[in-house]
């Protein structure tokens, strides 16, 4: 895959020398604190800690995230305020939340206003704070808090006030607009479909907007699942049934658009090439089937409500939770494990079925006469057999004849072993798969570190994979030492490619010294006359090379 366009003035990638780095630092666990000098004016120091986007590890991202969450929470509070059954009894709570939100937004506004002279965008202006005050984002920030203070002086209609409070959502633009700009920059000259692909699939073109899109979908998954759970509580669904319907419709609209976007843009993925077959393969993909299951109940229930009672399908809306597995590799590993171990799992399932049928048949044979109402036929005895073999033992059906009890003891003991096989199999295969993937990561890491350094992309990959595969600091340190030793040996054997040596001036000097020393040794050890005679006979050395040799020889 091609790399995205990068701005011409982009800073060169920072390289980390693996000889001088510790695993903790690589994993971002040490020195995670920002490099902010305390020996600077308070205002600059405060700016660096809170608002400077160029200092990794400071609070800027956290502040943005929490303010974003607060804005979304405000939006929900505003929606819930329209439900009298919820608003009236909790009026005070809503008010406190509003006051809390305003306090945070005011603090944020005041902080930005105070620190404006440190901001790159405003510091060159004649009056940075005035420039900040009239900047679009500052106006939005002011609009978000102004209605609260205005109502203290001017009587504002509640509906108008609520509308004005809705303006708080505009604050999200502070996060979205830069992401959109970055997205446009990354996707300059790309097709519409490629842009859709960049938005919904993880790719180098997605940037921050793709993360925002994922978060947006994730938030809606959680909201809609919470709604399904709350709907089952009579007292809640009784009060806000209509709101649940509206919420579900919005969620379905969002998930439907996401589904269509994925199906349409999947052909940009190398593994889904082909307008029809590629999309068909994507539609068969587990994650996409889950996406479909997340929206299908809504369409089926409403469309077929007059013909069929499909209310039970509402429970399947909980399948939306599975959408989150897209962002978690554990499910992928589990699927791989099941696919890999399928022959053994199916064999053990076959034995389990055999045992269940045998136990049910024996139960029927030995107990039917004594308890005809409980062991009335073999299919009905299957329930008892499964409960016994799986060691659940509800006790609602149990054998009473001596032979029946003896048979149950034997079968239950066998059942413990047989029924445990799939669980043990899956557990060991899961561990094995993880081990394999860790070994693969280690191999990739070795390859990445062979050149002696790691760039930012490689470090990012390392951190993501190390987190996913639970690579410990000790393991990474051992790996670093191993690579270090390997490189040392390689240096000793001089098998490092010359261009790699040339990239590193210190090593290039060392290499030059080593070569000179070898020539000197050669000059000392070889017979000069025979050397020159052989060189002339084979015409292997040019006159310049011959002159250099004689110069070295004479300097000894």
């Amino acid at each position: 895959m091609a790399t995205p366009n990068t701005p011409n003035n982009a800073a060169p990638q920072k390289l980390i020398d693996i000889d001088s780095v510790h695993a903790k630092e690589l994993l971002g666990l040490e020195n995670a604190g920002p490099q902010i000098s305390t020996d600077q004016p308070l205002r600059k120091w405060l700016y660096d800690w809170t608002l400077n986007p160029n200092i990794p590890g400071n609070f800027q991202k956290s502040i943005d995230s929490w303010v974003g969450i607060l804005i979304v929470a405000n939006l929900f509070a505003l929606v819930l305020e329209h439900v009298p059954a919820l608003f009236e009894p909790n009026k005070q709570l809503f008010h406190y939340f509003d006051v809390f939100s305003i306090a945070i937004f005011v603090m944020e506004y005041a902080l930005r206003f105070y620190l404006a002279p440190e901001d790159e965008e405003f510091q060159k202006k004649r009056s940075p704070r005035t420039a900040y005050f009239f900047s679009p984002f500052a106006i939005i920030d002011l609009l978000a808090i102004a209605p609260f203070f205005l109502q203290a002086f001017i009587p504002i209609d509640l509906r108008a006030l609520r509308f004005l409070r809705l303006l708080r959502i505009l604050k999200l633009f502070r996060i979205i607009i830069p992401a959109v700009k970055e997205f446009s920059e990354l996707n300059k000259g790309r097709t519409f479909r490629q842009k859709i692909h960049a938005l919904v699939f993880v790719s180098p073109y997605g940037g921050k907007l793709q993360s925002i899109f994922d978060t947006f979908i994730g938030v809606w998954v959680i909201i809609s699942v919470l709604a399904v759970v709350l709907e089952s509580i009579h007292s809640v669904s009784y009060l806000i049934n209509v709101e649940f319907v509206i919420l579900d419709t919005i969620a379905v609209a969002i998930f439907t658009v996401e589904y269509l976007m994925r199906i349409y843009a999947c052909v940009e993925e190398p593994r889904y090439h082909g307008a029809f077959m590629g999309r068909f393969r994507q539609a068969r993909n587990t994650a996409t089937i889950i996406d479909l299951l997340a929206i299908l109940p809504f369409f089926l229930e409403v469309l077929l409500s007059s013909v069929l009672d499909l209310r039970f399908l509402r429970t399947f809306r909980l399948a939306r939770l599975l959408k989150l597995t897209r962002y978690n590799d554990s499910t992928k590993i589990l699927t791989t494990v099941i696919a890999r171990e399928w022959p053994v799992i199916s064999a053990s399932a076959f034995i389990m079925i055999l045992m269940v049928i045998m136990t049910a048949s024996l139960g029927y044979v030995f107990e039917h006469e004594a308890q005809p109402e409980k062991f009335d036929n073999i299919p009905n005895s299957v329930y008892w057999a499964v409960i016994t073999l799986a060691s659940v033992g509800y006790g609602d059906i149990s054998p009473i004849t001596p032979i029946g009890r003896f048979m149950t003891v034997v079968m239950a003991l066998l059942g413990i072993g047989i029924f445990a096989i799939p669980a043990a199999l899956l557990a060991s295969a899961f561990g094995d798969q993880l081990h394999k993937e860790r070994e693969m990561l280690k191999k990739n890491l070795r390859d990445m570190m062979k050149d002696g350094h790691l760039d930012e992309n490689e470090i990012q990959l390392l951190r993501t994979e190390a987190k996913r595969l639970h690579i410990t600091i000790e393991e990474l340190n051992a790996l670093l030492e191993h690579v270090h030793d390997e490189r040392l040996h390689a240096q000793q054997r001089s098998i490092l490619p010359l261009h790699v040596i040339a990239e590193r001036p210190a090593q290039a000097v060392e290499h030059y010294k080593m070569l000179l020393s070898q020539i000197n040794q050669l000059a000392l050890m070889t017979d000069a006359a025979k050397f020159e005679q052989a060189a002339k006979a084979s015409e292997n050395l040019s006159p310049k090379e011959m002159a250099l040799w004689q110069q070295i020889k004479s300097s000894q």
Binding site: F192, T256, V257, F298, S305
Partner: protein, 179 residues
């Protein structure tokens, strides 16, 4: 003046427009189905309001109907068990206080039924009014519910339960109260 042609790669293609149309179509379908679901939910809400109004009236009446000279003799308590019947009280209610009550799904006066049945969609919007008869101490259930019929005597205090059948003819319980 020459016009710079748009970059061939960036402007939407025919396939892109088809995709955009499908997305718009899907959104319209979701909106349409959402509107239907919303209508159903609103009708269920109106049914709930019917049930709530009935429950509120009966609860309020329970405090007064045992007083002498109660203004609605048909619903008064403490009289003769043979003449003080639910049928007369209900007839009075439907003719006076609840004469405008409508089943929002059908547009006619709601029926009082014993139970909702999802298999019978004709029950949507009807009111389930049940009489709760306490069972002897130690029983598995505290009370047995049965339909309050016209012949039931209302001379004594009654424990009632009210609910409605929603769009799917599932029961939505509203309240248990004393009448």
């Amino acid at each position: 003046m020459t016009k710079t042609p748009a970059h061939p790669g960036t402007s939407p293609t025919f396939a892109d427009w088809i995709f955009i149309s499908i997305v718009i179509g899907a959104l319209c379908l979701v909106a349409y189905l959402g509107e239907i679901a919303y209508e159903h939910a609103q009708q269920t809400e109106k049914s709930k309001r019917n049930g709530e109004a009935m429950a509120a009236w009966l609860t309020e009446a329970s405090a007064q109907r045992f007083e002498a000279n109660y203004k609605i003799p048909a619903c008064a308590g403490g009289g003769d068990a043979k003449t003080s019947l639910w049928g007369a009280c209900l007839e009075h209610l439907l003719a006076n206080d609840f004469k405008d009550m409508r089943n929002p799904f059908k547009g006619v006066a709601p029926q009082f039924i014993e139970q909702c049945n999802p298999a019978d969609k004709s029950l949507t919007g009807e009111i389930v009014l049940l009489k709760m008869t306490p069972t002897p101490a130690g029983s598995a259930v505290s009370s047995i519910n049965s339909k309050l019929v016209a012949e039931d005597s209302i001379d004594q205090k009654l424990q009632l339960s009210i609910g409605i059948c929603d769009k799917g003819a599932y029961l939505v319980k509203i309240a248990d109260f004393e009448f």
